[in-house]
Amino acid sequence: MDKKQYERPIIKSLNNGVMNKFGTRNEYAALTHIEGVPVKSLLQEYGSPLFVISERKIRENYRNAKRIFETRYPKVQFAWSYKTNYLNAVCNTFHQEGSWAEVVSRFEYEKAIKNGVPGDKILFNGPDKTDSDLRLSIKNNSPIHIDHLDELYRLTEIATGMDKKPRVAIRVNMDTGIYPMWDRFGFNYENGQAWDAINKIMASGKLNLVGLHCHIGTFMLTPSAYGVAASKLSELALSIKHQYNKDITYLDLGGGFASKNTLKGSLLPGSDSVPEIYEYAEAITTAILNAGFQPDDLPYLYLETGRALVDDAGFLLGSVISNKRLSDGRRATIMDFGVNIMFTSFWYDHKISPAQEFGQHTEDTILYGPLCMNIDVVRENITLPPLKPGDQVVVHHMGAYNISQSMQFISLRPAIVMIDNDKKVHLIKAAETLETLEKGEVLPEYLKEFNI
Protein backbone atom coordinates (compact mmCIF):
# COMPACT_ATOMS: atom_id res chain seq x y z
CA MET A 1 0.00 0.00 0.00
CA ASP A 2 1.30 3.47 -0.90
CA LYS A 3 1.91 5.65 2.11
CA LYS A 4 0.17 9.01 2.32
CA GLN A 5 1.89 12.40 2.25
CA TYR A 6 2.67 13.50 5.80
CA GLU A 7 1.88 16.95 7.08
CA ARG A 8 2.51 18.12 10.62
CA PRO A 9 -0.72 17.70 12.70
CA ILE A 10 -2.38 21.03 13.37
CA ILE A 11 -5.35 22.14 15.40
CA LYS A 12 -6.55 25.69 14.96
CA SER A 13 -9.07 27.52 17.08
CA LEU A 14 -11.91 29.12 15.11
CA ASN A 15 -12.57 32.62 16.31
CA ASN A 16 -15.87 34.32 15.78
CA GLY A 17 -14.75 37.84 15.25
CA VAL A 18 -15.61 40.65 12.91
CA MET A 19 -14.86 39.65 9.35
CA ASN A 20 -12.21 41.65 7.57
CA LYS A 21 -14.10 43.46 4.83
CA PHE A 22 -11.15 42.99 2.51
CA GLY A 23 -11.22 39.20 2.98
CA THR A 24 -8.22 37.15 3.93
CA ARG A 25 -4.89 37.72 2.32
CA ASN A 26 -4.00 34.80 0.14
CA GLU A 27 -0.26 35.15 0.15
CA TYR A 28 0.75 31.58 0.62
CA ALA A 29 0.53 30.13 -2.88
CA ALA A 30 3.60 27.99 -3.53
CA LEU A 31 6.37 29.50 -5.65
CA THR A 32 8.52 26.62 -6.82
CA HIS A 33 10.41 28.39 -9.63
CA ILE A 34 11.93 31.84 -10.13
CA GLU A 35 12.22 32.86 -13.77
CA GLY A 36 11.80 29.20 -14.67
CA VAL A 37 14.64 27.99 -12.44
CA PRO A 38 13.64 25.62 -9.59
CA VAL A 39 14.12 27.10 -6.11
CA LYS A 40 15.29 23.69 -4.91
CA SER A 41 18.14 23.49 -7.40
CA LEU A 42 19.22 27.08 -6.72
CA LEU A 43 19.51 26.38 -3.00
CA GLN A 44 21.21 23.07 -3.61
CA GLU A 45 23.88 24.66 -5.78
CA TYR A 46 24.49 27.97 -3.99
CA GLY A 47 23.45 27.16 -0.42
CA SER A 48 20.70 28.54 1.77
CA PRO A 49 19.85 31.39 2.21
CA LEU A 50 20.40 32.92 -1.24
CA PHE A 51 19.55 36.23 -2.89
CA VAL A 52 18.23 35.94 -6.43
CA ILE A 53 17.98 38.85 -8.87
CA SER A 54 15.87 38.68 -12.00
CA GLU A 55 17.55 40.55 -14.85
CA ARG A 56 14.38 40.34 -16.93
CA LYS A 57 12.36 42.06 -14.24
CA ILE A 58 14.89 44.91 -13.84
CA ARG A 59 14.86 45.61 -17.58
CA GLU A 60 11.09 45.33 -17.74
CA ASN A 61 10.62 47.74 -14.83
CA TYR A 62 13.07 50.23 -16.30
CA ARG A 63 11.58 50.17 -19.79
CA ASN A 64 8.09 50.48 -18.38
CA ALA A 65 8.98 53.53 -16.25
CA LYS A 66 10.92 55.13 -19.10
CA ARG A 67 8.04 54.65 -21.54
CA ILE A 68 5.54 56.05 -19.03
CA PHE A 69 7.57 59.22 -18.46
CA GLU A 70 8.65 59.69 -22.07
CA THR A 71 5.10 59.51 -23.38
CA ARG A 72 4.27 62.42 -21.05
CA TYR A 73 7.39 64.55 -21.24
CA PRO A 74 9.96 65.03 -24.01
CA LYS A 75 13.22 65.12 -22.05
CA VAL A 76 13.63 62.42 -19.42
CA GLN A 77 16.77 60.91 -17.92
CA PHE A 78 16.94 58.26 -15.20
CA ALA A 79 19.97 58.00 -12.93
CA TRP A 80 20.34 54.72 -11.05
CA SER A 81 20.40 55.28 -7.31
CA TYR A 82 23.48 53.29 -6.33
CA LYS A 83 22.62 52.99 -2.65
CA THR A 84 19.40 51.12 -3.43
CA ASN A 85 21.42 48.20 -4.72
CA TYR A 86 25.05 48.66 -5.64
CA LEU A 87 25.86 45.24 -6.93
CA ASN A 88 27.81 45.86 -10.13
CA ALA A 89 25.63 43.41 -12.07
CA VAL A 90 22.53 45.35 -11.06
CA CYS A 91 24.08 48.79 -11.72
CA ASN A 92 25.34 47.73 -15.13
CA THR A 93 21.98 46.28 -16.14
CA PHE A 94 20.53 49.74 -15.52
CA HIS A 95 23.45 51.41 -17.33
CA GLN A 96 22.94 49.11 -20.32
CA GLU A 97 19.37 50.33 -20.42
CA GLY A 98 20.62 53.93 -20.57
CA SER A 99 20.47 54.95 -16.95
CA TRP A 100 23.06 57.34 -15.53
CA ALA A 101 24.35 57.01 -11.94
CA GLU A 102 23.28 58.82 -8.79
CA VAL A 103 25.70 58.48 -5.90
CA VAL A 104 25.90 59.75 -2.33
CA SER A 105 29.44 58.88 -1.27
CA ARG A 106 32.98 58.64 -2.58
CA PHE A 107 33.02 54.87 -2.80
CA GLU A 108 29.73 54.87 -4.73
CA TYR A 109 31.23 57.52 -7.02
CA GLU A 110 34.31 55.40 -7.59
CA LYS A 111 32.12 52.36 -8.19
CA ALA A 112 30.23 54.23 -10.92
CA ILE A 113 33.49 55.36 -12.54
CA LYS A 114 34.84 51.80 -12.32
CA ASN A 115 31.66 50.51 -13.94
CA GLY A 116 32.40 52.81 -16.85
CA VAL A 117 29.88 55.59 -16.29
CA PRO A 118 31.23 58.85 -17.79
CA GLY A 119 31.88 61.47 -15.11
CA ASP A 120 29.37 63.95 -16.51
CA LYS A 121 26.65 61.31 -16.13
CA ILE A 122 27.19 60.80 -12.39
CA LEU A 123 24.99 62.95 -10.14
CA PHE A 124 26.72 63.50 -6.81
CA ASN A 125 24.27 63.90 -3.92
CA GLY A 126 24.71 63.73 -0.17
CA PRO A 127 25.77 65.99 2.70
CA ASP A 128 29.28 64.58 3.07
CA LYS A 129 31.57 65.42 0.18
CA THR A 130 35.22 66.02 1.04
CA ASP A 131 37.48 68.52 -0.73
CA SER A 132 39.00 65.63 -2.61
CA ASP A 133 35.50 64.40 -3.65
CA LEU A 134 34.62 67.88 -4.87
CA ARG A 135 37.87 68.26 -6.83
CA LEU A 136 37.37 64.88 -8.47
CA SER A 137 33.78 65.74 -9.41
CA ILE A 138 34.86 69.08 -10.88
CA LYS A 139 37.61 67.36 -12.86
CA ASN A 140 35.11 64.80 -14.20
CA ASN A 141 32.43 67.41 -14.90
CA SER A 142 29.95 65.60 -12.63
CA PRO A 143 26.91 67.58 -11.50
CA ILE A 144 27.40 68.32 -7.79
CA HIS A 145 24.18 68.66 -5.82
CA ILE A 146 24.94 71.14 -3.05
CA ASP A 147 23.38 70.22 0.29
CA HIS A 148 24.33 73.08 2.63
CA LEU A 149 25.93 76.51 2.73
CA ASP A 150 29.25 75.20 4.04
CA GLU A 151 29.50 73.01 0.98
CA LEU A 152 28.59 75.95 -1.26
CA TYR A 153 31.34 78.14 0.22
CA ARG A 154 33.87 75.29 0.15
CA LEU A 155 33.07 74.52 -3.45
CA THR A 156 33.36 78.19 -4.43
CA GLU A 157 36.78 78.30 -2.78
CA ILE A 158 37.98 75.11 -4.44
CA ALA A 159 36.64 76.26 -7.83
CA THR A 160 38.68 79.45 -7.55
CA GLY A 161 41.87 77.47 -7.87
CA MET A 162 40.73 75.30 -10.75
CA ASP A 163 40.44 75.97 -14.44
CA LYS A 164 37.04 74.28 -14.69
CA LYS A 165 33.75 75.75 -13.54
CA PRO A 166 31.90 73.18 -11.42
CA ARG A 167 28.47 72.16 -12.70
CA VAL A 168 26.18 72.41 -9.70
CA ALA A 169 22.59 72.02 -8.62
CA ILE A 170 21.12 72.87 -5.27
CA ARG A 171 19.07 70.48 -3.28
CA VAL A 172 15.78 72.05 -2.31
CA ASN A 173 13.53 70.84 0.52
CA MET A 174 9.95 71.96 0.72
CA ASP A 175 6.47 71.49 2.07
CA THR A 176 4.64 69.24 -0.36
CA GLY A 177 1.74 68.59 1.98
CA ILE A 178 3.07 65.34 3.36
CA TYR A 179 4.10 64.49 6.88
CA PRO A 180 6.81 64.22 8.06
CA MET A 181 8.36 66.87 5.86
CA TRP A 182 11.93 66.05 4.89
CA ASP A 183 13.87 69.19 5.63
CA ARG A 184 17.25 67.97 6.81
CA PHE A 185 18.76 67.86 3.33
CA GLY A 186 19.27 70.89 1.14
CA PHE A 187 17.89 74.42 1.32
CA ASN A 188 14.31 75.22 2.24
CA TYR A 189 12.01 76.63 -0.40
CA GLU A 190 9.37 78.30 1.76
CA ASN A 191 11.67 80.33 4.02
CA GLY A 192 13.76 81.59 1.11
CA GLN A 193 16.97 79.65 1.84
CA ALA A 194 16.87 78.04 -1.59
CA TRP A 195 16.56 81.38 -3.37
CA ASP A 196 19.35 82.84 -1.21
CA ALA A 197 21.61 79.94 -2.18
CA ILE A 198 20.78 80.47 -5.86
CA ASN A 199 21.64 84.18 -5.54
CA LYS A 200 24.94 83.34 -3.87
CA ILE A 201 25.82 80.91 -6.67
CA MET A 202 24.89 83.37 -9.39
CA ALA A 203 26.73 86.21 -7.66
CA SER A 204 29.92 84.21 -7.14
CA GLY A 205 30.42 83.65 -10.87
CA LYS A 206 32.54 80.62 -9.92
CA LEU A 207 29.88 77.96 -10.23
CA ASN A 208 27.70 76.94 -13.15
CA LEU A 209 24.17 76.39 -11.87
CA VAL A 210 22.77 73.71 -14.16
CA GLY A 211 20.03 72.07 -12.11
CA LEU A 212 17.60 72.06 -9.23
CA HIS A 213 17.15 68.96 -7.17
CA CYS A 214 14.73 67.69 -4.55
CA HIS A 215 14.03 64.43 -2.80
CA ILE A 216 10.79 64.83 -0.93
CA GLY A 217 10.74 61.54 0.93
CA THR A 218 10.83 57.80 0.64
CA PHE A 219 8.11 55.25 -0.12
CA MET A 220 5.79 58.11 -1.03
CA LEU A 221 2.19 56.98 -1.30
CA THR A 222 0.86 60.35 -2.46
CA PRO A 223 1.74 61.11 -6.10
CA SER A 224 0.27 64.63 -5.84
CA ALA A 225 3.14 65.58 -3.48
CA TYR A 226 5.46 65.19 -6.49
CA GLY A 227 3.23 67.55 -8.42
CA VAL A 228 3.72 70.17 -5.70
CA ALA A 229 7.48 69.57 -5.71
CA ALA A 230 7.71 69.83 -9.50
CA SER A 231 5.71 73.10 -9.42
CA LYS A 232 7.98 74.62 -6.80
CA LEU A 233 11.18 73.59 -8.61
CA SER A 234 9.73 74.94 -11.88
CA GLU A 235 8.92 78.22 -10.18
CA LEU A 236 12.52 78.52 -8.97
CA ALA A 237 13.82 77.73 -12.48
CA LEU A 238 11.54 80.36 -14.01
CA SER A 239 12.62 82.91 -11.41
CA ILE A 240 16.27 82.21 -12.32
CA LYS A 241 15.39 82.75 -15.98
CA HIS A 242 13.59 85.99 -15.11
CA GLN A 243 16.26 87.34 -12.78
CA TYR A 244 19.44 86.14 -14.49
CA ASN A 245 18.26 85.18 -17.98
CA LYS A 246 19.71 81.74 -17.38
CA ASP A 247 18.08 78.49 -18.43
CA ILE A 248 18.25 75.67 -15.92
CA THR A 249 19.26 72.47 -17.73
CA TYR A 250 17.45 70.01 -15.50
CA LEU A 251 14.98 69.54 -12.70
CA ASP A 252 15.82 66.46 -10.64
CA LEU A 253 12.80 65.11 -8.76
CA GLY A 254 14.91 62.57 -6.85
CA GLY A 255 13.50 59.21 -5.86
CA GLY A 256 10.98 57.93 -3.36
CA PHE A 257 8.44 56.15 -5.56
CA ALA A 258 6.97 53.27 -3.55
CA SER A 259 7.46 49.63 -4.50
CA LYS A 260 4.81 46.92 -4.13
CA ASN A 261 5.96 45.98 -0.64
CA THR A 262 3.43 46.12 2.19
CA LEU A 263 4.13 48.64 4.92
CA LYS A 264 3.51 47.35 8.45
CA GLY A 265 0.06 48.30 9.68
CA SER A 266 -1.46 48.85 6.25
CA LEU A 267 -4.86 47.28 5.63
CA LEU A 268 -4.18 46.27 2.07
CA PRO A 269 -1.16 44.55 0.58
CA GLY A 270 1.21 46.85 -1.31
CA SER A 271 0.17 45.28 -4.61
CA ASP A 272 -3.31 46.78 -4.11
CA SER A 273 -2.52 50.06 -2.38
CA VAL A 274 0.71 51.48 -3.81
CA PRO A 275 0.39 54.06 -6.63
CA GLU A 276 1.43 52.99 -10.12
CA ILE A 277 4.40 54.73 -11.78
CA TYR A 278 2.10 56.51 -14.22
CA GLU A 279 0.41 58.30 -11.31
CA TYR A 280 3.73 59.80 -10.22
CA ALA A 281 4.59 60.55 -13.84
CA GLU A 282 1.28 62.28 -14.46
CA ALA A 283 1.66 64.49 -11.37
CA ILE A 284 5.27 65.49 -12.14
CA THR A 285 5.05 66.06 -15.88
CA THR A 286 1.74 67.93 -15.73
CA ALA A 287 3.19 70.31 -13.13
CA ILE A 288 6.30 71.06 -15.22
CA LEU A 289 4.40 71.39 -18.51
CA ASN A 290 1.93 73.79 -16.91
CA ALA A 291 4.56 75.86 -15.11
CA GLY A 292 5.08 78.35 -17.93
CA PHE A 293 8.28 77.25 -19.69
CA GLN A 294 8.63 78.06 -23.39
CA PRO A 295 8.44 74.71 -25.25
CA ASP A 296 12.06 75.03 -26.40
CA ASP A 297 13.25 75.92 -22.91
CA LEU A 298 11.74 72.92 -21.12
CA PRO A 299 14.31 71.54 -18.69
CA TYR A 300 15.36 67.91 -18.64
CA LEU A 301 13.54 65.83 -16.04
CA TYR A 302 15.98 63.71 -14.07
CA LEU A 303 14.70 60.87 -11.91
CA GLU A 304 16.68 58.95 -9.31
CA THR A 305 14.17 56.13 -8.96
CA GLY A 306 15.62 53.14 -7.12
CA ARG A 307 13.22 51.11 -5.03
CA ALA A 308 10.33 51.06 -7.52
CA LEU A 309 12.61 49.72 -10.26
CA VAL A 310 14.45 46.98 -8.41
CA ASP A 311 12.45 45.82 -5.39
CA ASP A 312 10.36 43.18 -7.13
CA ALA A 313 13.38 41.97 -9.11
CA GLY A 314 14.98 40.65 -5.92
CA PHE A 315 14.09 37.50 -3.97
CA LEU A 316 15.52 35.89 -0.89
CA LEU A 317 15.36 32.12 -0.75
CA GLY A 318 15.72 30.38 2.57
CA SER A 319 14.96 27.28 4.61
CA VAL A 320 13.22 26.37 7.83
CA ILE A 321 15.56 25.55 10.71
CA SER A 322 12.98 24.59 13.31
CA ASN A 323 9.45 24.96 14.61
CA LYS A 324 8.64 25.78 18.17
CA ARG A 325 5.75 26.68 20.39
CA LEU A 326 5.84 29.86 22.47
CA SER A 327 4.62 30.06 26.06
CA ASP A 328 1.21 31.35 25.03
CA GLY A 329 0.65 28.60 22.48
CA ARG A 330 1.63 30.61 19.42
CA ARG A 331 3.54 28.83 16.70
CA ALA A 332 7.01 30.14 15.90
CA THR A 333 9.20 29.12 12.99
CA ILE A 334 12.93 29.76 12.85
CA MET A 335 14.30 30.51 9.40
CA ASP A 336 17.92 30.53 8.25
CA PHE A 337 17.72 34.21 7.21
CA GLY A 338 17.42 37.07 9.65
CA VAL A 339 17.19 40.82 9.93
CA ASN A 340 20.91 41.21 9.25
CA ILE A 341 20.14 40.56 5.58
CA MET A 342 16.52 41.78 5.70
CA PHE A 343 16.85 45.31 6.98
CA THR A 344 13.53 46.24 5.40
CA SER A 345 11.66 43.73 7.57
CA PHE A 346 11.63 46.45 10.24
CA TRP A 347 9.03 48.37 8.20
CA TYR A 348 7.58 45.90 5.69
CA ASP A 349 5.46 42.80 6.11
CA HIS A 350 7.30 40.95 3.40
CA LYS A 351 5.33 38.55 1.29
CA ILE A 352 6.71 35.06 1.88
CA SER A 353 5.72 32.01 -0.18
CA PRO A 354 6.48 28.36 0.50
CA ALA A 355 8.64 26.90 -2.26
CA GLN A 356 6.90 23.52 -2.28
CA GLU A 357 3.31 22.37 -2.79
CA PHE A 358 1.23 21.83 0.34
CA GLY A 359 -2.29 21.00 1.51
CA GLN A 360 -5.12 23.38 2.19
CA HIS A 361 -4.50 23.78 5.92
CA THR A 362 -2.57 26.74 7.22
CA GLU A 363 -1.60 28.17 10.56
CA ASP A 364 -0.56 31.52 11.94
CA THR A 365 3.06 31.72 12.89
CA ILE A 366 5.80 34.13 13.88
CA LEU A 367 8.84 33.95 11.67
CA TYR A 368 12.14 34.36 13.47
CA GLY A 369 15.58 34.64 11.93
CA PRO A 370 18.58 32.59 13.08
CA LEU A 371 20.31 35.35 15.05
CA CYS A 372 20.68 34.99 18.77
CA MET A 373 19.04 38.38 19.26
CA ASN A 374 15.52 39.20 20.34
CA ILE A 375 15.04 41.73 17.56
CA ASP A 376 15.46 39.11 14.88
CA VAL A 377 11.82 38.88 13.80
CA VAL A 378 11.23 38.48 10.08
CA ARG A 379 7.41 38.51 10.25
CA GLU A 380 5.43 39.14 13.44
CA ASN A 381 2.47 37.20 12.13
CA ILE A 382 2.03 35.30 8.91
CA THR A 383 -0.31 32.57 7.71
CA LEU A 384 1.63 29.70 6.21
CA PRO A 385 1.10 25.97 5.66
CA PRO A 386 2.70 23.77 8.33
CA LEU A 387 6.37 24.00 7.47
CA LYS A 388 8.89 21.44 8.62
CA PRO A 389 12.66 21.76 9.03
CA GLY A 390 14.30 21.86 5.62
CA ASP A 391 11.24 23.26 3.84
CA GLN A 392 12.06 26.20 1.62
CA VAL A 393 10.47 29.61 1.24
CA VAL A 394 10.76 32.60 -1.07
CA VAL A 395 10.70 36.17 0.27
CA HIS A 396 9.42 38.63 -2.33
CA HIS A 397 10.34 42.24 -3.06
CA MET A 398 13.86 42.09 -1.67
CA GLY A 399 15.75 43.94 -4.39
CA ALA A 400 15.89 47.37 -2.75
CA TYR A 401 18.13 48.27 0.21
CA ASN A 402 18.37 44.78 1.73
CA ILE A 403 21.61 43.89 0.00
CA SER A 404 23.23 47.31 0.35
CA GLN A 405 22.21 47.61 4.01
CA SER A 406 23.00 44.02 4.99
CA MET A 407 25.66 43.25 7.56
CA GLN A 408 27.66 40.33 8.87
CA PHE A 409 26.12 40.28 12.28
CA ILE A 410 26.19 36.79 13.82
CA SER A 411 25.49 35.35 10.37
CA LEU A 412 27.65 35.91 7.30
CA ARG A 413 26.07 37.27 4.17
CA PRO A 414 24.92 34.72 1.60
CA ALA A 415 25.66 34.35 -2.09
CA ILE A 416 23.78 36.40 -4.69
CA VAL A 417 22.87 35.10 -8.13
CA MET A 418 21.31 36.75 -11.14
CA ILE A 419 19.08 34.87 -13.57
CA ASP A 420 19.53 36.27 -17.05
CA ASN A 421 16.95 36.56 -19.82
CA ASP A 422 17.81 33.03 -21.05
CA LYS A 423 17.20 31.55 -17.58
CA LYS A 424 20.95 31.10 -17.07
CA VAL A 425 22.10 31.52 -13.48
CA HIS A 426 25.16 33.70 -12.79
CA LEU A 427 26.88 33.99 -9.44
CA ILE A 428 27.25 37.76 -8.98
CA LYS A 429 28.54 37.72 -5.40
CA ALA A 430 30.02 34.79 -3.54
CA ALA A 431 28.88 33.86 -0.04
CA GLU A 432 31.07 35.40 2.62
CA THR A 433 33.57 33.47 4.68
CA LEU A 434 35.46 34.22 7.88
CA GLU A 435 38.27 35.60 5.68
CA THR A 436 35.86 38.17 4.21
CA LEU A 437 34.88 39.26 7.69
CA GLU A 438 38.42 39.54 8.98
CA LYS A 439 39.81 41.30 5.91
CA GLY A 440 41.48 44.48 7.05
CA GLU A 441 41.64 43.43 10.70
CA VAL A 442 45.05 43.76 12.31
CA LEU A 443 45.83 41.81 15.48
CA PRO A 444 48.66 43.41 17.49
CA GLU A 445 51.58 41.03 17.94
CA TYR A 446 51.32 40.96 21.75
CA LEU A 447 47.70 39.74 21.56
CA LYS A 448 48.45 36.75 19.40
CA GLU A 449 49.05 34.27 22.19
CA PHE A 450 47.32 33.38 25.41
CA ASN A 451 47.02 30.58 27.94
CA ILE A 452 43.66 29.57 29.26
Partner: protein, 81 residues
Protein backbone atom coordinates in the same frame (compact mmCIF):
# COMPACT_ATOMS: atom_id res chain seq x y z
CA UNK B 1 -3.68 11.57 28.63
CA UNK B 2 -7.39 11.22 27.90
CA UNK B 3 -9.24 13.26 25.33
CA UNK B 4 -12.49 14.60 26.68
CA UNK B 5 -15.22 12.13 25.86
CA UNK B 6 -17.87 14.69 24.94
CA UNK B 7 -16.01 16.47 22.14
CA UNK B 8 -17.42 15.96 18.67
CA UNK B 9 -15.18 15.49 15.61
CA UNK B 10 -16.65 15.57 12.12
CA UNK B 11 -15.18 13.71 9.14
CA UNK B 12 -14.10 17.00 7.61
CA UNK B 13 -11.89 17.88 10.58
CA UNK B 14 -14.25 20.14 12.48
CA UNK B 15 -14.07 19.79 16.25
CA UNK B 16 -16.62 21.09 18.72
CA UNK B 17 -16.23 21.26 22.49
CA UNK B 18 -19.79 21.35 23.95
CA UNK B 19 -18.61 22.31 27.41
CA UNK B 20 -17.05 25.59 26.24
CA UNK B 21 -18.74 26.18 22.88
CA UNK B 22 -15.34 26.52 21.19
CA UNK B 23 -14.74 25.06 17.79
CA UNK B 24 -11.55 24.09 15.99
CA UNK B 25 -10.31 22.76 12.69
CA UNK B 26 -7.82 19.98 12.22
CA UNK B 27 -5.81 18.92 9.22
CA UNK B 28 -6.07 15.22 8.17
CA UNK B 29 -3.06 14.06 10.20
CA UNK B 30 -4.38 16.00 13.20
CA UNK B 31 -7.75 14.28 12.84
CA UNK B 32 -6.21 10.83 12.70
CA UNK B 33 -4.04 11.44 15.75
CA UNK B 34 -6.93 12.87 17.74
CA UNK B 35 -9.09 9.84 16.92
CA UNK B 36 -6.28 7.47 17.90
CA UNK B 37 -5.84 9.30 21.21
CA UNK B 38 -9.58 9.35 21.80
CA UNK B 39 -9.66 5.60 21.21
CA UNK B 40 -7.18 5.19 24.04
CA UNK B 41 -3.95 4.69 22.09
CA UNK B 42 -0.75 5.69 23.82
CA UNK B 43 2.10 7.62 22.12
CA UNK B 44 3.78 4.43 20.87
CA UNK B 45 0.54 3.28 19.28
CA UNK B 46 0.01 6.63 17.56
CA UNK B 47 3.58 6.80 16.27
CA UNK B 48 3.42 3.23 14.98
CA UNK B 49 0.18 3.94 13.13
CA UNK B 50 1.49 7.14 11.53
CA UNK B 51 4.75 5.52 10.44
CA UNK B 52 2.79 2.66 8.88
CA UNK B 53 0.49 4.96 6.93
CA UNK B 54 2.47 8.10 6.16
CA UNK B 55 5.75 9.00 4.50
CA UNK B 56 7.73 10.35 7.44
CA UNK B 57 10.23 9.36 10.06
CA UNK B 58 10.02 8.57 13.77
CA UNK B 59 11.83 11.69 14.97
CA UNK B 60 9.48 13.99 13.09
CA UNK B 61 6.35 12.24 14.37
CA UNK B 62 7.61 12.16 17.94
CA UNK B 63 8.31 15.92 17.88
CA UNK B 64 5.03 16.73 16.18
CA UNK B 65 3.00 14.54 18.53
CA UNK B 66 4.57 16.21 21.55
CA UNK B 67 3.66 19.63 20.14
CA UNK B 68 0.17 18.55 19.12
CA UNK B 69 -0.61 17.17 22.58
CA UNK B 70 0.58 20.42 24.12
CA UNK B 71 -1.86 22.28 21.93
CA UNK B 72 -4.69 19.96 22.99
CA UNK B 73 -3.76 20.71 26.60
CA UNK B 74 -3.59 24.40 25.79
CA UNK B 75 -7.09 24.28 24.28
CA UNK B 76 -8.32 22.29 27.32
CA UNK B 77 -9.46 19.32 25.26
CA UNK B 78 -7.94 16.88 27.71
CA UNK B 79 -9.62 15.39 30.80
CA UNK B 80 -8.20 16.52 34.11
CA UNK B 81 -6.19 13.67 35.53
Amino acid sequence: MNIKKNIAISDSGFLFNPSTGDSYTLNPVGQEILKLLKDGNNDEGVIEYILKNYMTDKDAVEKDLYDFKNMLKNFKLIEDE
